[in-house]
């Protein structure tokens, strides 16, 4: 980390000119009170997981730019109920910009978020930004080299992500080559992208965002994958092996799609609606199988000679399925938000996400207040629905969260 700061200051001295080093800072504190689902079929394994455990984190961020060099770094101290506090320092972004005029490039670790959606982004296959988290930590960029050509209404880019990597344990670290195309066509933005990686082979998709009315924005995106993966409960007979509680199936091909709109009123109210399809997500039958296997593991705990630790371990391992980016193949999201048009700095939102596969839902209500340098957030999220839906099975009933961000 010290190396990056030294480089930032040196590059500021060499390249900076009138504004050698431009730094700004944030301190971000987050607390979450999580309520476990006491009657969960995973209850025996939950002590080995983070479900239902209160937690907090204090994050310090420095973001800066000196000449062509940009840096974003965070230091985080975290504490979770029942665990020792931990800390970590992370360089979220560190990259150089180069080029002039229409041809530009960048090299280093950089955030590469993409796509037009809010709740789901099929085309975000490089950054893989987690969606719908409450008060999420700062994103971590992707090691990449990018070359782009811009005109007033068009942009074409080539990106090599994680150069030198092949197929890695985490798809985010996979080596890949991608192309991006952007075209502005009146009140519509058109995006097209393609990527090749060893894991997914060819992926290609397109997106649009259009404003047909002063209050209405429409958006949509779709992705085709030549190959894909789906994580599902194990099909092996051994239910007590934590390493094989879940399995990743290869799909010959898969499609993902999203359609949505935002409607904004003069009064400060806005409505967002989205629906999406993700063929790589587990289906209703997968969640039912996960629940059935959890019940079978609980039954094994009563069998003499079966170690309780093995049952707890395999139950805990099976809950990793709740950490997948999409818990449902078909879902719909509605979000009503309000921004105070007075001088009071208040905003509020109510989100409802419904799984159309299995009848599960999550509802989040949040409120925020912002002044010159301070932002305060608070909210509550609850999970529910049919008992064998993804959100109905989730080993937490909900959480209450608070956050404070001080910028200077």
């Amino acid at each position: 980390m010290r190396f990056w700061f030294l480089l930032l200051f040196l590059s500021g001295t060499v390249f900076g000119g009138e504004n050698p080093v431009d730094l700004n800072y944030k301190i971000h504190a987050v607390g979450e009170n999580r309520e476990a689902r006491d009657d969960s079929v995973f209850a025996l394994g939950l002590p080995l997981t983070s479900f239902g455990k209160d937690r907090g984190r204090l994050e310090g961020e420095v973001r800066g730019r000196a000449g062509p060099f940009s840096l974003q770094a965070t230091g985080t101290v975290s504490e979770q109920e029942g665990s020792q506090p931990s800390s970590r320092a992370l360089v979220n972004q560190a990259y150089f910009d180069f080029g002039e005029g229409a041809i530009r490039g960048s090299a280093g670790k950089k955030i590469l978020s993409y796509d037009v959606g809010y709740g789901f982004r099929p085309l975000d296959f490089l950054q893989r930004e987690a969606r719908l988290l409450v008060l999420p930590p700062a994103l971590e960029g992707v090691n990449s080299v990018a070359l782009e050509r811009f005109s007033a209404e068009r942009a074409v880019g080539l990106i090599v992500a994680n150069p030198g990597n092949g197929r890695e344990p985490d798809p985010k670290d996979d080596g890949s080559a991608a192309a991006r195309y952007y075209q502005r066509a009146g009140s519509t933005d058109l995006h097209a992208t393609a990527r090749y990686s060893e894991r997914f082979r060819l992926e290609a998709g397109a997106a649009f965002s259009a404003v047909p009315h002063e209050s209405l924005e429409l958006h949509g995106s779709a992705l085709y994958q030549q190959r894909s993966e789906r994580t599902v409960p194990t099909t092996s007979g051994n239910l007590l092996d934590p390493a094989n509680a879940l399995q990743t199936d290869t799909l010959k091909s898969a499609a993902k799609a999203l359609a949505g709109f935002t409607w904004t009123l003069e009064s400060g109210w806005s409505l967002l609606g989205e629906a999406w399809y993700d063929e790589s997500a587990p289906g209703a039958n997968d969640w039912q199988r996960l629940a059935a296997q959890a019940r079978a593991r609980n039954a094994l705990a009563l069998v003499p000679g079966v170690p309780a630790a093995a049952v707890a371990g395999s139950l805990a391992a099976s809950t990793r399925m709740f950490q997948l980016p999409s818990l449902s193949r078909r879902a719909a999201l509605a979000r009503i938000a309000w921004t105070d048009q007075g001088a009071h700095g208040w905003s509020a939102s109510l989100d409802a996400l419904r799984s159309l596969d299995d009848g599960g839902y999550t509802v989040t209500a949040a409120i925020a207040w912002e002044s010159d340098k301070l932002r305060l957030d608070a909210g509550v999220r609850t999970f529910g629905g049919r008992p064998e839906s993804a959100f109905g099975l989730l080993p937490e009933r909900g959480l209450v969260f608070v956050g404070a961000t001080f910028s200077f």
Binding site: D189, T264, S270, A343, K373, L374, S407
Partner: protein, 241 residues
């Protein structure tokens, strides 16, 4: 006879519209001193008489209704808003992707970025002179102008221009429902021997306790090349903040 009368009426209306355009151009010259420049802007929001927030912006203006707003306050640093005619985009630092936003979304928030980024009337409005009034002790022409494009922040403005030099003295800003949203008052200073608007004071007529002062701190000749006004370019950090 009646055809001649209609023709004369049309000609009269056309001349009057042209006159209004000319008046608006003269008024614009007090706010935008060159076609292409960077305007450093400070927005002070007051709650009653108490200062509540201060925000800093760098606004890069280019002909053909192109504006790029770079947010420079600590809590907003990294945000950028691009206005190309009636089209608008926003980039938030947390996500680094350009979001197309509606004209209505542009109006939300403490200080409407439309108030900061829109520095001309002649390109966007047309209307007629409806009378005369005295504002700040100066005899003024009273203009009632209407937005000619869907992306304007205020579809209707009643504008008071000094009869002597056409400087804007005051404005009544109406939202789409034709409700009076804000009243603007302009203050002037001498910059490089030229009289220019140095402050625009906006008094909110809906949230009555709210007042916003827009201070134009500096106007610097600055030309950003066309690619800076491409929404896909916004995620790059090349703009010197």
């Amino acid at each position: 006879m009646s055809k001649v009368f209609v023709l004369l009426m049309l000609l009269s209306f056309s001349c009057r519209a042209e006159d209004v355009k000319a008046l608006l151009k003269e008024a614009d010259a007090f706010r935008l001193t060159a076609e292409t420049l960077r305007v450093d802007t400070e927005v002070r929001v007051f709650k009653g008489e108490q200062p509540d927030k201060t925000r800093l912006y760098a606004v890069y203006v280019k002909p053909d209704r192109r504006s790029l707003v770079v947010f420079r306050s600590p809590s907003e640093r990294g945000q950028k808003m691009l206005m190309l005619g009636d089209d608008f985009w926003l980039v938030l630092p947390s996500s680094q992707r350009p979001l197309r936003i509606t004209p209505m979304q542009k109006l939300l928030g403490d200080a409407s970025t439309g108030d900061i980024a829109s520095l001309t009337w002649a390109e966007d409005y047309d209307g007629r002179v409806v009378g005369e009034a005295t504002v700040g002790g100066k005899p003024c022409l009273k203009l009632d102008i209407a937005g000619q494009r869907k992306g304007v922040s205020y579809p209707r403005i009643v504008l008071y221009l000094a009869k002597s030099d056409r400087r804007p003295m005051a404005a009544e800003l109406y939202v789409a429902s034709d409700k009076l949203a804000k009243e603007a008052e302009f203050r002037f200073g001498q910059v490089d021997g030229r009289t220019v608007v140095t402050q625009m004071i906006l008094t909110d007529r809906i949230q009555r306790e709210r007042r916003t002062e827009v201070h134009y701190l500096a106007r610097t000749p600055k030309t950003l090349s066309d690619e800076y006004y491409n929404p896909a370019f916004l995620v790059r950090a090349d703009i010197n903040q």
